[in-house]
Subunit: 109 residues, 2 copies
Amino acid sequence: MASTFAILAEPNRRAILGLLAGAERSVGELEERLRMPQTSVSKHLRVLREAGFVEARVDAQRRLYRIRPEPLMEVDAWLVPFRHFWEKRVDALERHLDRMAEAKKGKKR
Amino acid sequence: MASTFAILAEPNRRAILGLLAGAERSVGELEERLRMPQTSVSKHLRVLREAGFVEARVDAQRRLYRIRPEPLMEVDAWLVPFRHFWEKRVDALERHLDRMAEAKKGKKR
DNA sequence: CTTGTATATGCTTTATTACGTATATACCTC
DNA sequence: GAGGTATATACGTAATAAAGCATATACAAG
């Protein structure tokens, strides 16, 4: 039942996700870049996989892991009620971008 | 040395922050709304306070707690490298704006 | 200054979890 | 199929942290 946040509490797991943010990577690559034992990497990947943060695809003996965004989107959504504490003028920018997107739709017809 | 995420891993603490997102509240109010023992609320508040998530102001015997945004901003910042996984809309808009800028340059010549 | 109210802290127990070590599985090459 | 490479799992141990209960501090009201 470990929550999204409990899973992100582990620094090595965040490091793994950080590496996967840029590109799909094999267990061996993660092991090497993070300088941590392979069993440890595999165990963290299992936790991340079971919680939906990553998925693997098989390439011969290797497993190539990549990000699944859903749980991170949850975190993003959880932050919503707090954003007004720091996003004063970004709101204005977003409204501006939304207006432009609308204008684009209008012109297309 | 508990990280920002480790602190958010505790569900009761997230609940406290959720309540404080809307308004400043006393310990008693939190205790009542969350239906948890006062000592528990106080202990979680201590953790949140020491990590900079909240601050208290004194009102007679009561302490009124409120959000401090900094640690949550960190979380928001941590998400940045992952946002492109789900924020297609903004990406598409940006590409569109780039194309329009290019087209304009072309026409000018 | 005594009593009640509001909040904080200390101690003990229990549960969770990360890590190391050893081992298992799977696939590839010869 | 033997040996090597890549990854996963099982088990034991140690560290961490949440919860319960008791108690302490601080202010207020009479």
